[in-house]
């Protein structure tokens, strides 16, 4: 086991901030390449005419998932040392729902709004201001909702443990599911091509 490098003390926290910046550059670059600086393209995901959100996200998820899995199998990466948030079923479900509604109203998510702002989208800037306001509201009413926020806690729990199947089989099933989703995405993009904002270019 050699990785994660930071957890094995290969460098200090100041260096980690430099790495944070560089990883961020790669993240922002990839998001912009994928068309995620455009709210119209992001929103089109929900009108089935442009499925870039699903395609990029699920390709990224299976790439990283396979990488983590195989690097773990060969003993290079200690998967248990990777930080994972604990599961809180209800707050995460409700939070996800609110976030999804915010997505179709605002046209971005926090990461993509930063990219859109970087490429000159004024609505992206407004979205960031809105997100900061939403976080401020959350912070101010936190004492009132902290009971709900900490409810239905299951601790750190992964899909294989919930489904009672092996890690490897879960990885395999996610890949199969993603390939099925890609096939559906290609089909719906053809069907709704007439309202795909990317075709206007």
């Amino acid at each position: 086991m050699n990785a994660p490098f930071y957890k094995f003390g290969y460098f200090n926290s100041d260096i980690s901030l430099v790495i944070a910046f560089l990883i961020g550059v790669g993240f922002g670059f990839a998001l912009e390449r994928g068309g995620f600086g455009s709210a119209r393209i992001l929103a089109a995901q929900f009108y089935l005419s442009n499925m870039r959100v699903l395609k990029v996200m699920f390709t990224a998820i299976i790439t990283a998932m396979l990488g983590v899995y195989y690097l773990g199998v060969i003993g290079f990466l200690d998967v248990k040392l990777i930080y994972m948030t604990e599961t809180y079923v209800l707050p995460q479900a409700v939070g996800g729902l609110i976030l999804g509604i915010g997505f179709i109203i605002g046209g971005y998510c926090p990461g993509t709004s930063v990219v859109s702002f970087a490429t000159g989208a004024i609505d992206g800037f407004m979205f960031i201001i809105g997100a900061l306001f939403g976080i401020f509201v959350f912070g101010e009413i936190y004492p009132l909702i902290s009971n709900f926020y900490t409810s239905t806690n299951l601790g750190v729990v992964r899909l294989p443990e919930v489904l009672h199947i092996s890690y490897g089989l879960t990885v395999f099933l996610v890949v199969i599911m993603a390939i099925g989703a890609f096939a559906l995405a290609e089909w719906s993009e053809k069907k709704f091509a007439f309202r795909n904002p990317e075709n206007e270019r």
Binding site: I19, F21, I23, G24, G26, G28, F29, A30, E32, R33, G37, R40, A43, Q45, Y47, V56, A60, I61, I62, T63, A64, M65, G67, V68, L77, I82, T85, Q92, G96, L97, G100, I101, G102, G106, Y108, C109, P110, G111, V115, S116, A118, T119, G120, A121, D123, M126, I129, G130, L132, G134, V137, F138, G139, Y142, L154, L159, E161, R195, E198, R201
Partner: protein
């Protein structure tokens, strides 16, 4: 005289043609996804953590509240999580530096592809001012929801998705559910 003005205007239109950079089409989504996945994997291998975005915004808010009303910030468990014991600046944070990188990376990619443009992203059937209001309102819902869910599309869906985190998959399904359920009401903004 008319030929002269014609020539001058021709000169200008030619200049405009040269100056105007045509925006390149976006990259193949599957290749982009592999690239994004490798960035995420690199973060797991080097740092032992994934990507994020809303966390950096929380640090910014916590820093602001701490500056304006330090006692109020200290009495609130949510802000305290970002402020810590008060000895280090909340902005000296991993996610804050990562998001600064996102800003730069997005700008580099946009510049290389000729996609930097002051604009408002919207469908053809809505006024700019309304669109900007919706951007703010959607952002506010997003900020609130992301805090409730302990992360956004980056920290939960992408990072937690790849780690097969149960809560992240619940979150991801609900994000898509919320988006699709509400898309009908927002069609004037986008279609």
């Amino acid at each position: 005289m008319t030929t002269l003005t014609k020539k001058i205007s021709e000169l200008f239109t030619k200049d405009i043609e040269i100056v105007e950079v045509k925006a390149k089409p976006y990259s193949n989504p599957y290749l982009t996804g592999i690239g994004l996945g490798l960035v995420l994997l690199l973060s797991f291998v080097i740092m032992g953590r994934g990507l994020g975005a809303s966390g950096a915004m929380s640090s910014l808010i916590a820093y602001g509240v701490q500056t304006v009303a330090p006692e109020h910030a200290q009495s609130n468990d949510f802000y305290k999580e970002y402020i810590g014991d008060g000895t280090t600046n909340p902005l000296k944070d991993w996610l804050v530096f990562e998001v600064l990188g996102v800003l730069v990376g997005g700008f580099i990619s946009g510049t290389l592809a000729g996609r930097i443009k002051i604009r408002v992203e919207k469908g053809p059937n809505i006024e700019k001012s309304k669109r900007l209001f919706f951007a703010f309102a959607g952002g506010a819902l997003m900020g609130f929801g992301a805090k409730l869910a302990r992360g956004c599309t980056s920290g939960q869906a992408l990072t937690g998705g790849a780690l097969l985190n149960f809560g992240s998959w619940i979150f991801m399904i609900m994000v898509f559910a919320g988006g699709y359920a509400f898309a009908y009401f927002m069609r004037r903004q986008w279609l």
